[in-house]
Amino acid sequence: MLWPWENQVLRLGLDIFQCRLLAAGMSQEFSHLTDELQLKEIARQVRRDIVEMLYHAKSGHTGGSLSATDILVALFFGVMRLKPGDPLWPQRDYFILSKGHAAPALYAVLARLGFFPREDLNRLRSFGSHLQGHPCALSTPGVEISTGSLGQGLSVATGIALGVRLNGAGQRVYTLLGDGEVQEGQVWEAAMAAAHYKVDNLVAILDRNRLQIDGRTWDVMSIEPLVAKWEAFGWHTMQVNGHSFPELLEAFQACRYFTGQPSIIIAHTIKGKGVAIFEDQVKYHGVAPTQEEYEQAKRELGEV
């Protein structure tokens, strides 16, 4: 299937991402980035895009998009097998943004990979835009399933993992959860089922940014001990610094060697990471930057 904007995408400038896009369109594999500096630079640009698009949208989720940025960059640029020019490529790996409110981060990454033009980003959340407030699979290429209602993504990811296992093409499925999100019981239903069915092609990442809407997770509804919980539910569990590319890439690599059970990477992050005024502030969960905050963020993140 060819997306209408595919040609348009191909006509875009030829920086590294576009080259990868071309490569991806031409071979079955594409070369992953593993260089920390390159990944950091991409993450900086993605953060810059996120702030930009939220500022334009005047609403949206700043904190949880920025805490998840490095995880998404590591996954999409360093790990997953995808063809941005062919979003429904049958051999692709899958990514499900279970914490759907971090849509800006996902959109920024998808745009940079060439799933759709970066110009679209600034129409986030506007009427008629294909970039809905929460991921909508029917509108946005690269979005595998609609999310936004928390707690549902792990079940879907498990279903995809079971499905592709039946197909036997060795694809892997990734899903990103919020730490507040694990308060949803459906997450534990899915955790139990994924272990029961030994779906070892499934990797969950938990964005452990210690905040949810109403405050610190331990004030709102305690979720610790997380490692003990996931291990008791039969998962291979790792912990990393969610802002360290070497740690993230190593963890994703390690998951491949744990067979017979699903893996979860508990990624310790800072909500709002990358812009000092947003960092670890409960207030910036669901508000967009003001003009002043936007200027400040631009100064910190630099230009695109």
Partner: protein
Amino acid sequence: MNGAEKQSTRVEYGKILAQLGRENPEIVVLDADLSGSTQTHFFARAFPDRFFNMGIAEQDMMGTAAGLAVAGKIPFASTFAIFATGRAWEQIRQSIAYGDLNVKIVASHGGVTVGEDGGSHQGIEDLALMRVLPNMVVLVPADGVETRAMVRWAAAYRGPVYIRTSRQPFPVLFDNDTYHFILGRGQVLREGQDVTLAGCGLMVHHCLAAADLLAAEGIAARVLNLSCIKPLDWELVVESARLTGALVSAEEHMTIGGLGSAISEVLTEFFPVPLQRIGIRDVFGLSGKAENLLKHFGLNPDDIKKAALKAVGRKKERK
């Protein structure tokens, strides 16, 4: 038509599903620890690798079904109607219907004829819950023949479908060779010009019996099988309203939100005539034998007859 032989819509579902499993390797089946009741056990035994028992976890079952659909499979997910549509409503809404995913939900134990298990287990809101969802097709077969046709159709159709089956067997109504399911189409089972009786599921049979009772009193009832609750055959409803000037709806479901509600929406929108809604009138179910409950809730042919007389009377009043 053959009134003597009885078939269970849930058993026929189970059998045709196993059959379809043979024909199409993309079909996968999920259940939530009720495969013996929903009858997915036939499929489970035949295709253990394509059967996923999710345990007592209806939400996860629906989400997993959505994922299997994303991966290109054709999932059928089954449990009791109350748990399928109630416990997992938001999963069906957000993970399935919102993305228009190719998931089939076939739920057993709709209605009060569930019997002894009582109010907690009688799914009498499922049609309302599924009807409000965009993209969702909502079906209630009236016999085994229609069940098989609908399930086969659903497997070929691309999009979400809800089918309600029943615990109790019904008489066989249709002919296997001539019955053909068409989305959005109802059937006229009997012609008549005085009043229209429109039912689904078991109540289609009760409508036919009521039509006999009415005939004995000189009233000619048109009987419709509106097994396709959504999209509803509104043209047939309007045509019947024009022809007969009064209707009775009959369903093993709340009179709120289900078939009767759908018909009243169509009537007020296109051709307002009197409608009497037979169904559960805003109370929960009870334990008891199916026949006691049908009587208690006023769902028998005699109740339909009385409603029809009332509808006919109202028609005259306003002329």
